[in-house]
């Protein structure tokens, strides 16, 4: 794909997945990858950044004799996600408008 997935967009996508329910690393990665062609290695830094900024929190749960780490969106994260959604819509509408205008005149 010719278009790059920027940091704010990826952050928003991860938060959007978590807004549908808590997830552990592997399941979260799979759910993002179902929709987007991203490499796994980009997700760990994203999660750490979101955790640092308070948009998500982390907790551990025992699972089959080990601890599994889960990620949950916080209230601040939900607010942030709403803002990003608004911005994305604006951005997308702008791009759509330009691309469609181009094709109409072409």
């Amino acid at each position: 794909m010719a278009f790059a997935m920027g940091t704010p967009l990826l952050d928003a996508c991860v938060l959007a997945v978590l807004s549908g329910g808590d997830a552990y690393g592997y399941s979260l990665t799979q759910r993002v990858k179902e929709r987007l062609d991203i490499s796994e290695s980009t997700l760990y830094p994203v999660l750490r950044r979101l955790e640092r900024d308070g948009y998500l929190r982390v907790y551990d749960r025992p699972f089959q004799g080990r601890n599994r780490r889960y990620y949950a969106i916080t209230q601040v994260g939900r607010t942030y996600l709403d803002v990003r959604r608004g911005e994305w819509k604006e951005f997308r509408d702008g791009v759509d408008a330009l691309l469609e205008e181009e094709s109409e005149h072409g």
Binding site: Y26, T29, P62
Partner: protein
Amino acid sequence: MDKRAYLSRLSDNLERYVPDQERWDILRWYEEYFKDAGEGNEQAVIQELGDPATLARRLAEERGYGETRKGPRMWQILLGAVIVVIIAIPLMAFSPLAQLLGFHRVTHDPVEFVTTVPVEQAPSEWYEPDPGYGVDIDINAEGVNVDLHAEDIDSPSVRTNMSTDGDNLDWDFDGQYLYVNWYGSGESSYKAAGTLTVAIPASWELAQVSVYLVGAGDAAVSDLQLCDELYVETEVGNVTAKRILDVGGYLSLHAGVGDVSFDGLPARAGSTYLSTETGDVSATLFCEDRSVPYSLNTDVGTVTVDGVDCGSSASYSVGSVAWHFNAWTNVGDVSLAFDPEGVVGVIQGEDNGGIYTIVPTSPPVSVTD
């Protein structure tokens, strides 16, 4: 390349760029990723992740660590080389093989296990390993820390710093068998609710001791003089065993997630097992000499023996003895040390028969910290 090899290469590469804490976090993430992907998908995950060196560099960059942030300077490399030579010279005379292998595996020629008993001190019968002789202790608890230790008291006591309606705690002692059960509230809590303290008379002779914790909670046992077996396991919590004199058959300390630490004497008629899935394992053996057969392993981390870095595993064999000291972790460090100052007794016995006895030097065991 399998999962272990992959994680280990990733770890080695990360070490150049990121601080240890970050490295552990990253390794934990990938360890979990592998596990949740399923055993059958190991190769697919390795394919997906790509070259470990590239991945390490990429993670470091994205986490904001400069390319050579942790790279050693030339003077550090030279200093390291000088230190290695200084350490290697005395070791070369002692063990050419270890030097050949660059200390990654500590091996020596098999030697006979020999220790002596001073003749003026007759072995105390108290310490004779004799299953069925001594008190059995069974502790089962959920969501609570447990502290089991010996005190200068006449009868056992069970205390807690938690309010209880009486339904949580159930315990009894019939002169031969002490059991303590603590039932969790049933709510899913991932933090231990408080501490349950079980104190036993320091004079007690013990046979089999078992502490089993479910949910979150640390287990601490100290000042136990065992005749037969000690078994401690936590699900999420540290295991600490201090001043343990185990002359009997079996000693096992295991944490699902948590650190395991031990000091005292290893089991002499059977084996000692210290293990955790995620966490560090450390042991200090109060042995008069170092003739303890051991094997130490970590998947992701470092093994050290008396402070010497041994890579990811170290072993030492002592002829054909039935007992063995084992310590391992999936993710974490393993360290083994010998403390001559910690000697609290002299061990005697034959290689295989399990007829070891400890002659207490004075005092037999310290009861207070």
